[in-house]
Protein backbone atom coordinates (compact mmCIF):
# COMPACT_ATOMS: atom_id res chain seq x y z
CA UNK A 1 0.00 0.00 0.00
CA UNK A 2 2.78 2.37 0.97
CA UNK A 3 4.68 1.71 -2.26
CA UNK A 4 1.65 2.37 -4.35
CA UNK A 5 0.98 5.59 -2.50
CA UNK A 6 4.56 6.73 -3.09
CA UNK A 7 4.27 6.07 -6.82
CA UNK A 8 1.12 8.09 -6.93
CA UNK A 9 2.88 10.97 -5.26
CA UNK A 10 5.75 10.73 -7.70
CA UNK A 11 3.35 10.81 -10.63
CA UNK A 12 1.51 13.77 -9.19
CA UNK A 13 4.69 15.70 -8.63
CA UNK A 14 5.88 14.85 -12.18
CA UNK A 15 2.64 16.22 -13.54
CA UNK A 16 3.10 19.34 -11.48
CA UNK A 17 6.53 19.90 -12.95
CA UNK A 18 5.16 19.49 -16.49
CA UNK A 19 2.39 21.90 -15.68
CA UNK A 20 4.94 24.29 -14.25
CA UNK A 21 7.05 24.10 -17.43
CA UNK A 22 3.90 24.70 -19.43
CA UNK A 23 2.99 27.67 -17.30
CA UNK A 24 6.47 29.13 -17.70
CA UNK A 25 6.27 28.68 -21.48
CA UNK A 26 2.70 30.00 -21.66
CA UNK A 27 2.28 32.99 -23.87
CA UNK A 28 1.00 35.99 -21.99
CA UNK A 29 -1.79 38.15 -23.34
CA UNK A 30 -3.20 41.39 -22.02
CA UNK A 31 -6.76 42.08 -23.11
CA UNK A 32 -7.99 45.65 -22.78
CA UNK A 33 -11.77 45.76 -23.18
CA UNK A 34 -14.29 47.88 -21.30
CA UNK A 35 -17.46 46.00 -22.26
CA UNK A 36 -18.06 43.46 -19.49
CA UNK A 37 -19.85 41.00 -21.81
CA UNK A 38 -17.09 41.07 -24.40
CA UNK A 39 -14.36 40.75 -21.80
CA UNK A 40 -16.25 37.85 -20.27
CA UNK A 41 -16.46 36.21 -23.71
CA UNK A 42 -12.69 36.65 -24.07
CA UNK A 43 -12.08 35.14 -20.63
CA UNK A 44 -14.22 32.10 -21.41
CA UNK A 45 -12.64 31.55 -24.80
CA UNK A 46 -9.08 31.92 -23.55
CA UNK A 47 -9.71 29.57 -20.61
CA UNK A 48 -9.68 26.79 -23.20
CA UNK A 49 -6.37 27.90 -24.71
CA UNK A 50 -2.79 27.78 -23.48
CA UNK A 51 -2.51 31.50 -22.87
CA UNK A 52 -1.99 33.31 -19.63
CA UNK A 53 -4.53 36.09 -19.85
CA UNK A 54 -5.06 39.27 -17.90
CA UNK A 55 -7.98 41.59 -18.62
CA UNK A 56 -8.02 45.37 -18.07
CA UNK A 57 -11.21 47.44 -18.29
CA UNK A 58 -9.52 50.58 -19.62
CA UNK A 59 -6.16 52.10 -20.51
CA UNK A 60 -5.35 53.15 -16.96
CA UNK A 61 -5.91 49.67 -15.57
CA UNK A 62 -3.86 48.29 -18.46
CA UNK A 63 -0.91 50.48 -17.44
CA UNK A 64 -1.19 49.28 -13.83
CA UNK A 65 -1.14 45.66 -15.01
CA UNK A 66 1.74 46.34 -17.43
CA UNK A 67 3.91 47.56 -14.58
CA UNK A 68 3.99 44.01 -13.20
CA UNK A 69 3.14 41.85 -16.22
CA UNK A 70 4.86 42.09 -19.60
CA UNK A 71 2.65 40.36 -22.15
CA UNK A 72 3.69 38.81 -25.47
CA UNK A 73 0.70 40.44 -27.12
CA UNK A 74 -1.95 43.04 -26.33
CA UNK A 75 -5.51 42.73 -27.63
CA UNK A 76 -6.84 46.27 -27.51
CA UNK A 77 -10.24 47.93 -27.77
CA UNK A 78 -10.26 51.59 -28.87
CA UNK A 79 -13.31 53.27 -27.36
CA UNK A 80 -12.96 53.08 -23.58
CA UNK A 81 -13.58 55.40 -20.64
CA UNK A 82 -10.76 57.28 -18.89
CA UNK A 83 -7.80 56.29 -21.07
CA UNK A 84 -8.87 55.07 -24.52
CA UNK A 85 -7.04 52.71 -26.87
CA UNK A 86 -5.29 55.46 -28.83
CA UNK A 87 -3.95 57.12 -25.68
CA UNK A 88 -2.72 53.77 -24.38
CA UNK A 89 -1.05 52.99 -27.72
CA UNK A 90 0.77 56.31 -27.61
CA UNK A 91 2.08 55.55 -24.12
CA UNK A 92 3.13 52.05 -25.12
CA UNK A 93 5.08 53.38 -28.09
CA UNK A 94 6.87 55.93 -25.93
CA UNK A 95 8.02 53.37 -23.37
CA UNK A 96 11.02 51.27 -24.38
CA UNK A 97 9.84 48.28 -22.35
CA UNK A 98 6.49 48.07 -24.16
CA UNK A 99 7.24 49.63 -27.54
CA UNK A 100 7.83 46.31 -29.27
CA UNK A 101 4.87 44.37 -27.87
CA UNK A 102 2.60 43.46 -30.83
CA UNK A 103 -0.88 44.94 -30.54
CA UNK A 104 -4.00 43.63 -32.23
CA UNK A 105 -6.80 46.17 -32.20
CA UNK A 106 -10.27 44.63 -31.81
CA UNK A 107 -12.80 47.41 -32.18
CA UNK A 108 -16.09 48.32 -33.78
CA UNK A 109 -14.73 51.59 -35.15
CA UNK A 110 -14.09 51.42 -38.84
CA UNK A 111 -13.76 54.99 -40.05
CA UNK A 112 -10.72 55.38 -42.25
CA UNK A 113 -9.21 57.97 -39.93
CA UNK A 114 -9.40 55.62 -36.91
CA UNK A 115 -7.82 52.84 -38.89
CA UNK A 116 -5.03 55.06 -40.15
CA UNK A 117 -4.42 56.54 -36.73
CA UNK A 118 -4.05 53.05 -35.27
CA UNK A 119 -1.77 51.98 -38.11
CA UNK A 120 0.31 55.10 -37.52
CA UNK A 121 0.78 53.91 -33.95
CA UNK A 122 2.17 50.63 -35.22
CA UNK A 123 -0.60 48.11 -34.58
CA UNK A 124 -0.03 44.64 -36.02
CA UNK A 125 -3.64 43.91 -36.99
CA UNK A 126 -7.03 45.64 -36.90
CA UNK A 127 -10.20 43.57 -36.41
CA UNK A 128 -13.84 44.72 -36.54
CA UNK A 129 -15.46 42.76 -33.73
CA UNK A 130 -18.97 42.51 -35.11
CA UNK A 131 -17.64 41.19 -38.42
CA UNK A 132 -15.28 38.60 -36.89
CA UNK A 133 -15.82 35.42 -34.95
CA UNK A 134 -13.97 34.98 -31.67
CA UNK A 135 -12.24 31.97 -33.27
CA UNK A 136 -10.88 34.35 -35.96
CA UNK A 137 -9.41 36.54 -33.25
CA UNK A 138 -7.77 33.57 -31.51
CA UNK A 139 -6.37 32.48 -34.89
CA UNK A 140 -4.92 35.95 -35.50
CA UNK A 141 -3.34 35.94 -32.04
CA UNK A 142 -1.77 32.54 -32.73
CA UNK A 143 -0.41 33.76 -36.07
CA UNK A 144 1.21 36.81 -34.50
CA UNK A 145 2.67 34.82 -31.58
CA UNK A 146 4.11 32.14 -33.85
CA UNK A 147 6.13 34.68 -35.83
Amino acid sequence: MTVIKLNCNLQTSRLNILQLINIINMKKILIVEDDKFLSSAYRMKFKKTDFEVKVAMDGEEALRILALFTPDLILLDLVMPRKDGFALLEELRKNEKWAKIPVIVATNLEQKEDLEKAKGLGVTDYVIKSNSSIADIVAKINTVLEK
Binding site: L38, K48, N108, L109, E110, Q111, K112, D114, S130, S133
Partner: protein, 440 residues
Protein backbone atom coordinates in the same frame (compact mmCIF):
# COMPACT_ATOMS: atom_id res chain seq x y z
CA UNK B 1 -38.49 105.95 -95.28
CA UNK B 2 -35.64 105.55 -92.85
CA UNK B 3 -35.95 107.76 -89.79
CA UNK B 4 -32.68 109.67 -90.29
CA UNK B 5 -33.39 110.61 -93.93
CA UNK B 6 -36.82 111.96 -92.93
CA UNK B 7 -35.29 114.05 -90.18
CA UNK B 8 -32.66 115.36 -92.59
CA UNK B 9 -35.45 116.33 -95.00
CA UNK B 10 -37.29 118.28 -92.28
CA UNK B 11 -34.03 119.89 -91.28
CA UNK B 12 -33.23 121.03 -94.87
CA UNK B 13 -36.76 122.39 -95.29
CA UNK B 14 -36.33 124.41 -92.12
CA UNK B 15 -33.00 125.78 -93.34
CA UNK B 16 -34.56 126.68 -96.71
CA UNK B 17 -37.46 128.44 -94.91
CA UNK B 18 -35.06 130.44 -92.77
CA UNK B 19 -33.00 131.29 -95.84
CA UNK B 20 -36.18 132.36 -97.69
CA UNK B 21 -37.27 134.64 -94.80
CA UNK B 22 -33.85 136.22 -94.83
CA UNK B 23 -33.91 136.76 -98.59
CA UNK B 24 -37.43 138.26 -98.42
CA UNK B 25 -36.38 140.71 -95.74
CA UNK B 26 -33.35 141.82 -97.78
CA UNK B 27 -35.48 142.25 -100.90
CA UNK B 28 -38.07 144.23 -98.92
CA UNK B 29 -35.41 146.62 -97.73
CA UNK B 30 -33.48 146.96 -100.95
CA UNK B 31 -36.23 146.98 -103.52
CA UNK B 32 -39.88 147.49 -103.99
CA UNK B 33 -41.61 144.55 -102.56
CA UNK B 34 -44.56 144.78 -104.80
CA UNK B 35 -42.45 144.07 -107.90
CA UNK B 36 -41.50 140.85 -106.31
CA UNK B 37 -44.92 139.91 -105.04
CA UNK B 38 -45.01 136.68 -106.90
CA UNK B 39 -41.62 135.74 -105.69
CA UNK B 40 -42.65 136.76 -102.17
CA UNK B 41 -45.78 134.64 -102.34
CA UNK B 42 -43.75 131.68 -103.49
CA UNK B 43 -41.40 132.21 -100.59
CA UNK B 44 -44.33 132.41 -98.18
CA UNK B 45 -45.63 129.04 -99.39
CA UNK B 46 -42.19 127.50 -99.02
CA UNK B 47 -41.76 128.98 -95.57
CA UNK B 48 -45.19 127.73 -94.44
CA UNK B 49 -44.30 124.22 -95.55
CA UNK B 50 -41.00 124.66 -93.75
CA UNK B 51 -42.73 125.80 -90.57
CA UNK B 52 -45.08 122.84 -90.62
CA UNK B 53 -42.10 120.57 -91.16
CA UNK B 54 -40.24 122.23 -88.29
CA UNK B 55 -43.25 121.90 -86.06
CA UNK B 56 -43.51 118.22 -86.99
CA UNK B 57 -39.84 117.75 -86.29
CA UNK B 58 -40.11 119.40 -82.87
CA UNK B 59 -43.11 117.22 -82.04
CA UNK B 60 -41.19 114.17 -83.15
CA UNK B 61 -38.15 115.15 -81.10
CA UNK B 62 -40.31 115.73 -78.04
CA UNK B 63 -41.89 112.35 -78.60
CA UNK B 64 -38.49 110.70 -78.83
CA UNK B 65 -37.26 112.43 -75.72
CA UNK B 66 -40.33 111.13 -73.88
CA UNK B 67 -39.75 107.66 -75.25
CA UNK B 68 -36.13 107.76 -74.16
CA UNK B 69 -37.17 108.95 -70.74
CA UNK B 70 -39.62 106.03 -70.45
CA UNK B 71 -36.91 103.58 -71.53
CA UNK B 72 -34.52 105.09 -69.01
CA UNK B 73 -37.07 104.76 -66.24
CA UNK B 74 -37.70 101.15 -67.25
CA UNK B 75 -33.98 100.42 -67.37
CA UNK B 76 -33.45 102.13 -64.05
CA UNK B 77 -36.22 100.01 -62.58
CA UNK B 78 -34.63 96.86 -64.05
CA UNK B 79 -31.27 97.90 -62.66
CA UNK B 80 -32.83 98.59 -59.30
CA UNK B 81 -34.27 95.08 -59.35
CA UNK B 82 -30.81 93.56 -59.95
CA UNK B 83 -29.25 95.85 -57.38
CA UNK B 84 -31.87 94.87 -54.83
CA UNK B 85 -31.27 91.19 -55.60
CA UNK B 86 -27.48 91.51 -55.26
CA UNK B 87 -27.91 93.64 -52.16
CA UNK B 88 -30.25 91.26 -50.36
CA UNK B 89 -29.05 87.72 -51.16
CA UNK B 90 -27.68 85.72 -48.26
CA UNK B 91 -24.31 85.26 -50.02
CA UNK B 92 -21.57 87.74 -49.41
CA UNK B 93 -20.99 89.59 -52.73
CA UNK B 94 -18.09 91.94 -53.36
CA UNK B 95 -17.13 93.69 -56.60
CA UNK B 96 -13.57 94.92 -56.90
CA UNK B 97 -11.50 96.65 -59.54
CA UNK B 98 -8.81 94.77 -61.45
CA UNK B 99 -6.40 95.20 -58.51
CA UNK B 100 -8.81 93.74 -55.99
CA UNK B 101 -9.81 97.08 -54.44
CA UNK B 102 -13.39 96.87 -53.21
CA UNK B 103 -15.89 98.98 -55.17
CA UNK B 104 -19.05 97.43 -53.83
CA UNK B 105 -20.05 95.13 -50.98
CA UNK B 106 -23.58 93.89 -50.28
CA UNK B 107 -25.44 93.66 -46.98
CA UNK B 108 -24.47 89.98 -46.47
CA UNK B 109 -20.79 90.94 -46.79
CA UNK B 110 -21.31 93.31 -43.85
CA UNK B 111 -23.23 90.69 -41.90
CA UNK B 112 -20.81 87.80 -42.51
CA UNK B 113 -17.52 89.67 -42.13
CA UNK B 114 -18.73 92.12 -39.48
CA UNK B 115 -17.09 95.06 -41.31
CA UNK B 116 -19.17 98.14 -42.19
CA UNK B 117 -19.35 99.00 -45.86
CA UNK B 118 -17.42 102.22 -45.37
CA UNK B 119 -14.61 100.14 -43.84
CA UNK B 120 -14.62 97.84 -46.85
CA UNK B 121 -14.84 100.21 -49.83
CA UNK B 122 -11.44 101.14 -51.26
CA UNK B 123 -9.55 98.42 -49.39
CA UNK B 124 -8.08 95.29 -50.89
CA UNK B 125 -10.31 92.22 -50.63
CA UNK B 126 -8.98 89.00 -49.06
CA UNK B 127 -6.29 90.65 -46.94
CA UNK B 128 -5.57 90.47 -43.21
CA UNK B 129 -6.77 94.03 -42.82
CA UNK B 130 -10.25 92.76 -43.65
CA UNK B 131 -11.64 89.21 -43.43
CA UNK B 132 -8.90 87.37 -45.35
CA UNK B 133 -5.24 86.51 -44.96
CA UNK B 134 -5.93 83.35 -42.95
CA UNK B 135 -4.65 80.92 -45.58
CA UNK B 136 -1.04 80.26 -46.62
CA UNK B 137 0.63 82.87 -48.82
CA UNK B 138 0.95 80.33 -51.64
CA UNK B 139 -2.83 79.83 -51.62
CA UNK B 140 -3.46 83.52 -52.37
CA UNK B 141 -0.69 83.54 -54.97
CA UNK B 142 -2.30 80.62 -56.80
CA UNK B 143 -5.75 82.18 -56.50
CA UNK B 144 -4.54 85.51 -57.86
CA UNK B 145 -2.70 83.81 -60.73
CA UNK B 146 -5.82 81.92 -61.70
CA UNK B 147 -8.20 84.88 -61.73
CA UNK B 148 -5.83 87.59 -62.97
CA UNK B 149 -3.38 85.83 -65.28
CA UNK B 150 -5.34 82.80 -66.45
CA UNK B 151 -8.55 84.86 -66.32
CA UNK B 152 -10.42 81.85 -64.98
CA UNK B 153 -13.00 81.46 -62.21
CA UNK B 154 -11.67 80.36 -58.82
CA UNK B 155 -13.85 78.15 -56.67
CA UNK B 156 -12.90 76.65 -53.34
CA UNK B 157 -13.05 76.67 -49.56
CA UNK B 158 -11.35 79.52 -47.74
CA UNK B 159 -10.70 80.08 -44.05
CA UNK B 160 -11.61 83.62 -43.08
CA UNK B 161 -11.86 85.78 -39.98
CA UNK B 162 -14.70 88.09 -38.92
CA UNK B 163 -14.10 91.59 -37.56
CA UNK B 164 -14.64 90.21 -34.02
CA UNK B 165 -11.78 87.71 -34.52
CA UNK B 166 -14.04 84.68 -34.99
CA UNK B 167 -12.82 82.25 -37.66
CA UNK B 168 -15.23 80.92 -40.27
CA UNK B 169 -15.12 78.74 -43.35
CA UNK B 170 -16.53 79.98 -46.61
CA UNK B 171 -17.14 78.49 -50.00
CA UNK B 172 -15.89 81.15 -52.40
CA UNK B 173 -16.23 81.78 -56.12
CA UNK B 174 -14.25 84.64 -57.61
CA UNK B 175 -14.88 85.48 -61.25
CA UNK B 176 -12.94 87.95 -63.42
CA UNK B 177 -15.17 90.21 -65.53
CA UNK B 178 -13.52 90.78 -68.88
CA UNK B 179 -14.09 93.70 -71.23
CA UNK B 180 -12.25 93.28 -74.54
CA UNK B 181 -10.37 90.38 -72.94
CA UNK B 182 -9.02 92.68 -70.24
CA UNK B 183 -9.81 92.02 -66.58
CA UNK B 184 -11.87 95.01 -65.50
CA UNK B 185 -13.62 93.83 -62.35
CA UNK B 186 -13.72 90.84 -60.06
CA UNK B 187 -16.93 89.53 -58.55
CA UNK B 188 -16.43 87.50 -55.40
CA UNK B 189 -19.30 85.46 -53.97
CA UNK B 190 -18.84 83.68 -50.66
CA UNK B 191 -21.09 81.50 -48.55
CA UNK B 192 -20.46 80.92 -44.86
CA UNK B 193 -20.41 77.10 -44.55
CA UNK B 194 -19.18 76.92 -40.94
CA UNK B 195 -22.54 75.64 -39.67
CA UNK B 196 -22.92 73.11 -42.50
CA UNK B 197 -19.51 71.72 -41.63
CA UNK B 198 -20.44 71.52 -37.99
CA UNK B 199 -23.58 69.54 -38.87
CA UNK B 200 -21.49 67.24 -41.09
CA UNK B 201 -19.05 66.71 -38.26
CA UNK B 202 -21.87 65.95 -35.83
CA UNK B 203 -23.37 63.48 -38.31
CA UNK B 204 -20.02 61.74 -38.71
CA UNK B 205 -19.67 61.57 -34.96
CA UNK B 206 -23.17 60.18 -34.61
CA UNK B 207 -22.52 57.49 -37.20
CA UNK B 208 -19.29 56.59 -35.51
CA UNK B 209 -20.99 56.43 -32.11
CA UNK B 210 -23.99 54.50 -33.43
CA UNK B 211 -21.75 52.05 -35.23
CA UNK B 212 -19.80 51.45 -32.08
CA UNK B 213 -22.66 51.39 -29.60
CA UNK B 214 -24.93 49.16 -31.68
CA UNK B 215 -22.24 46.74 -32.65
CA UNK B 216 -20.75 46.15 -29.21
CA UNK B 217 -23.70 44.19 -27.75
CA UNK B 218 -24.21 42.45 -31.11
CA UNK B 219 -20.57 41.33 -31.03
CA UNK B 220 -20.95 39.94 -27.52
CA UNK B 221 -24.04 37.96 -28.57
CA UNK B 222 -22.25 36.73 -31.67
CA UNK B 223 -19.29 35.43 -29.71
CA UNK B 224 -21.26 33.73 -26.94
CA UNK B 225 -23.52 32.03 -29.46
CA UNK B 226 -20.49 30.92 -31.44
CA UNK B 227 -18.95 29.41 -28.32
CA UNK B 228 -22.20 27.70 -27.37
CA UNK B 229 -22.55 26.19 -30.86
CA UNK B 230 -18.85 25.28 -30.87
CA UNK B 231 -19.36 23.13 -27.79
CA UNK B 232 -17.32 25.36 -25.47
CA UNK B 233 -19.99 24.90 -22.80
CA UNK B 234 -20.60 21.21 -23.50
CA UNK B 235 -22.52 19.29 -26.14
CA UNK B 236 -25.95 20.71 -26.90
CA UNK B 237 -29.10 18.70 -27.49
CA UNK B 238 -30.51 18.80 -31.02
CA UNK B 239 -33.36 21.11 -30.08
CA UNK B 240 -31.04 23.45 -28.16
CA UNK B 241 -28.74 23.65 -31.19
CA UNK B 242 -31.70 24.51 -33.44
CA UNK B 243 -32.80 27.28 -31.12
CA UNK B 244 -29.33 28.73 -30.80
CA UNK B 245 -28.82 28.60 -34.56
CA UNK B 246 -31.98 30.70 -34.86
CA UNK B 247 -30.71 33.21 -32.32
CA UNK B 248 -27.34 33.36 -34.08
CA UNK B 249 -28.97 33.92 -37.48
CA UNK B 250 -31.17 36.69 -36.09
CA UNK B 251 -28.13 38.28 -34.55
CA UNK B 252 -26.28 38.08 -37.87
CA UNK B 253 -29.27 39.76 -39.53
CA UNK B 254 -29.11 42.54 -36.99
CA UNK B 255 -25.37 42.99 -37.69
CA UNK B 256 -26.08 43.02 -41.44
CA UNK B 257 -28.81 45.61 -40.90
CA UNK B 258 -26.52 47.87 -38.86
CA UNK B 259 -23.84 47.51 -41.55
CA UNK B 260 -26.35 48.31 -44.31
CA UNK B 261 -27.66 51.37 -42.46
CA UNK B 262 -24.12 52.59 -41.92
CA UNK B 263 -23.25 52.01 -45.59
CA UNK B 264 -26.40 53.84 -46.58
CA UNK B 265 -25.67 56.87 -44.44
CA UNK B 266 -22.11 56.96 -45.76
CA UNK B 267 -23.20 56.79 -49.38
CA UNK B 268 -25.96 59.35 -48.88
CA UNK B 269 -23.70 61.78 -47.07
CA UNK B 270 -21.15 61.52 -49.91
CA UNK B 271 -18.46 60.48 -47.45
CA UNK B 272 -17.74 57.21 -49.18
CA UNK B 273 -14.21 56.71 -50.49
CA UNK B 274 -13.79 55.45 -54.06
CA UNK B 275 -10.33 53.96 -54.43
CA UNK B 276 -9.99 52.47 -57.91
CA UNK B 277 -7.18 50.03 -58.49
CA UNK B 278 -6.46 47.89 -61.60
CA UNK B 279 -8.55 44.79 -60.92
CA UNK B 280 -8.80 41.40 -62.55
CA UNK B 281 -12.58 41.16 -62.87
CA UNK B 282 -12.68 37.38 -63.19
CA UNK B 283 -10.72 36.96 -59.95
CA UNK B 284 -13.00 39.43 -58.19
CA UNK B 285 -16.11 37.53 -59.31
CA UNK B 286 -14.68 34.15 -58.32
CA UNK B 287 -13.58 35.42 -54.89
CA UNK B 288 -17.05 36.84 -54.31
CA UNK B 289 -18.63 33.54 -55.33
CA UNK B 290 -16.57 31.75 -52.69
CA UNK B 291 -18.41 33.75 -50.03
CA UNK B 292 -21.75 32.75 -51.49
CA UNK B 293 -20.74 29.07 -51.64
CA UNK B 294 -22.14 27.97 -48.25
CA UNK B 295 -25.54 29.56 -48.96
CA UNK B 296 -25.71 27.91 -52.37
CA UNK B 297 -24.89 24.59 -50.77
CA UNK B 298 -27.61 24.98 -48.14
CA UNK B 299 -30.19 25.53 -50.88
CA UNK B 300 -28.62 22.92 -53.20
CA UNK B 301 -28.55 25.45 -56.04
CA UNK B 302 -26.37 25.03 -59.12
CA UNK B 303 -23.97 27.76 -60.14
CA UNK B 304 -22.56 28.54 -63.58
CA UNK B 305 -20.04 31.28 -64.30
CA UNK B 306 -18.99 32.60 -67.68
CA UNK B 307 -16.50 35.42 -68.06
CA UNK B 308 -15.56 36.78 -71.52
CA UNK B 309 -11.91 36.12 -72.36
CA UNK B 310 -11.08 39.58 -73.59
CA UNK B 311 -11.73 41.54 -70.41
CA UNK B 312 -8.79 43.73 -69.46
CA UNK B 313 -7.90 44.68 -65.89
CA UNK B 314 -10.24 47.51 -64.96
CA UNK B 315 -9.61 50.41 -62.67
CA UNK B 316 -12.34 49.85 -60.10
CA UNK B 317 -12.84 49.86 -56.35
CA UNK B 318 -12.95 46.11 -55.62
CA UNK B 319 -14.54 46.62 -52.21
CA UNK B 320 -17.48 48.56 -53.66
CA UNK B 321 -18.03 46.28 -56.65
CA UNK B 322 -17.76 43.25 -54.43
CA UNK B 323 -20.51 44.76 -52.30
CA UNK B 324 -22.75 45.14 -55.38
CA UNK B 325 -22.04 41.57 -56.51
CA UNK B 326 -22.70 40.16 -53.03
CA UNK B 327 -26.01 42.03 -52.91
CA UNK B 328 -27.15 40.67 -56.28
CA UNK B 329 -25.91 37.15 -55.58
CA UNK B 330 -27.44 36.86 -52.11
CA UNK B 331 -30.74 38.10 -53.58
CA UNK B 332 -30.52 35.47 -56.33
CA UNK B 333 -29.88 32.71 -53.80
CA UNK B 334 -32.49 33.99 -51.37
CA UNK B 335 -35.25 34.44 -53.92
CA UNK B 336 -34.73 31.21 -55.86
CA UNK B 337 -36.23 27.97 -54.55
CA UNK B 338 -34.10 25.02 -53.44
CA UNK B 339 -32.45 23.24 -56.34
CA UNK B 340 -32.62 26.31 -58.57
CA UNK B 341 -29.96 27.63 -60.91
CA UNK B 342 -27.83 30.78 -60.58
CA UNK B 343 -25.75 32.01 -63.52
CA UNK B 344 -23.15 34.74 -63.53
CA UNK B 345 -21.92 36.41 -66.72
CA UNK B 346 -19.28 39.04 -67.28
CA UNK B 347 -19.46 40.49 -70.78
CA UNK B 348 -17.22 42.83 -72.68
CA UNK B 349 -19.49 45.28 -74.51
CA UNK B 350 -16.85 47.58 -75.91
CA UNK B 351 -17.12 50.78 -73.88
CA UNK B 352 -18.68 49.00 -70.94
CA UNK B 353 -18.26 45.81 -69.04
CA UNK B 354 -21.54 44.19 -68.03
CA UNK B 355 -22.08 41.91 -65.02
CA UNK B 356 -25.21 39.73 -65.06
CA UNK B 357 -26.67 37.63 -62.27
CA UNK B 358 -29.43 35.36 -63.57
CA UNK B 359 -31.70 33.09 -61.54
CA UNK B 360 -34.77 30.97 -62.18
CA UNK B 361 -36.47 32.09 -58.98
CA UNK B 362 -39.64 33.84 -57.88
CA UNK B 363 -39.14 36.95 -60.03
CA UNK B 364 -40.38 40.51 -59.55
CA UNK B 365 -44.10 41.29 -59.91
CA UNK B 366 -44.89 43.41 -62.97
CA UNK B 367 -46.62 46.14 -60.90
CA UNK B 368 -43.64 46.42 -58.55
CA UNK B 369 -40.89 46.67 -61.14
CA UNK B 370 -40.43 50.43 -60.81
CA UNK B 371 -40.22 50.24 -57.01
CA UNK B 372 -37.61 47.54 -56.63
CA UNK B 373 -34.64 49.90 -56.24
CA UNK B 374 -36.42 52.08 -53.68
CA UNK B 375 -35.05 52.31 -50.19
CA UNK B 376 -36.54 49.69 -47.77
CA UNK B 377 -38.79 48.24 -50.51
CA UNK B 378 -39.21 44.47 -50.60
CA UNK B 379 -41.16 42.57 -53.26
CA UNK B 380 -44.56 41.54 -51.90
CA UNK B 381 -44.26 38.04 -53.42
CA UNK B 382 -41.03 37.28 -51.54
CA UNK B 383 -41.60 39.00 -48.19
CA UNK B 384 -43.68 36.03 -46.99
CA UNK B 385 -41.30 33.43 -48.42
CA UNK B 386 -38.08 34.99 -47.14
CA UNK B 387 -38.33 36.95 -43.93
CA UNK B 388 -34.63 37.74 -44.03
CA UNK B 389 -33.83 40.96 -45.89
CA UNK B 390 -33.57 44.66 -45.16
CA UNK B 391 -34.82 46.22 -48.39
CA UNK B 392 -31.57 48.16 -48.58
CA UNK B 393 -29.37 45.92 -50.71
CA UNK B 394 -30.55 47.00 -54.17
CA UNK B 395 -30.77 50.64 -53.15
CA UNK B 396 -27.14 50.51 -51.99
CA UNK B 397 -26.08 48.58 -55.11
CA UNK B 398 -27.74 51.22 -57.33
CA UNK B 399 -26.09 54.06 -55.42
CA UNK B 400 -22.66 52.43 -55.75
CA UNK B 401 -23.03 51.62 -59.46
CA UNK B 402 -24.32 55.07 -60.33
CA UNK B 403 -21.65 56.87 -58.34
CA UNK B 404 -19.13 54.73 -60.26
CA UNK B 405 -20.38 56.02 -63.61
CA UNK B 406 -22.32 52.84 -64.44
CA UNK B 407 -25.91 51.71 -64.84
CA UNK B 408 -27.99 49.04 -63.16
CA UNK B 409 -31.21 47.31 -64.23
CA UNK B 410 -33.06 44.02 -64.46
CA UNK B 411 -35.45 41.88 -66.47
CA UNK B 412 -37.84 39.60 -64.69
CA UNK B 413 -40.84 37.32 -65.14
CA UNK B 414 -42.85 36.13 -62.20
CA UNK B 415 -41.94 32.56 -61.19
CA UNK B 416 -39.63 32.27 -64.20
CA UNK B 417 -36.64 34.17 -62.91
CA UNK B 418 -34.76 37.43 -62.85
CA UNK B 419 -31.60 38.79 -64.46
CA UNK B 420 -30.00 41.69 -62.66
CA UNK B 421 -27.24 43.45 -64.55
CA UNK B 422 -24.94 46.38 -64.01
CA UNK B 423 -22.43 48.02 -66.28
CA UNK B 424 -19.20 49.84 -65.54
CA UNK B 425 -17.22 51.95 -67.98
CA UNK B 426 -14.20 50.02 -69.23
CA UNK B 427 -12.21 53.22 -68.69
CA UNK B 428 -12.74 52.59 -64.97
CA UNK B 429 -14.15 54.37 -61.93
CA UNK B 430 -13.08 57.86 -60.90
CA UNK B 431 -11.30 58.17 -57.56
CA UNK B 432 -13.05 60.14 -54.84
CA UNK B 433 -11.68 61.25 -51.48
CA UNK B 434 -13.82 60.57 -48.44
CA UNK B 435 -13.72 59.29 -44.92
CA UNK B 436 -15.22 55.80 -44.96
CA UNK B 437 -15.58 52.77 -47.12
CA UNK B 438 -18.41 50.22 -47.21
CA UNK B 439 -18.27 47.09 -45.19
CA UNK B 440 -19.26 43.64 -46.39
Amino acid sequence: MPKITQEKKFFSLTLITMFAYGLLTILYILENVRTHLLFGFALLVVSSVGSVSMFRMILKLLNEVKKEKDTNIKQAKELEKYLLAVENVSEHIVITDSEGMILYANAAAEKITGFKREELIGKKAGTKELWGGQMKKSFYEKLWHKIKVEKKVFSGEVNNKRRNGEHYLSLATIAPILINDKVTFFVGIERDITKEREVDRMKTEFISLASHQLRTPLSAMKWFLEMLLGGDAGVLAKEQTEMIVNIRDSNERMIALVNSLLNLSRIESGRIIIEPTPTNVEELVRETLLDIGPRLKTKRQRLAVKVDDNIPNINLDPKLIRNVLINLLTNAVKYTPKGGKIEVFVLNKGENIVFQVRDNGYGVLEKEKDKIFEKLYRGSNVVKLETEGTGLGLYIAKSIVESSGGEIGFESRENKGTTFWFSLPISGMKAKAGEVTVNG
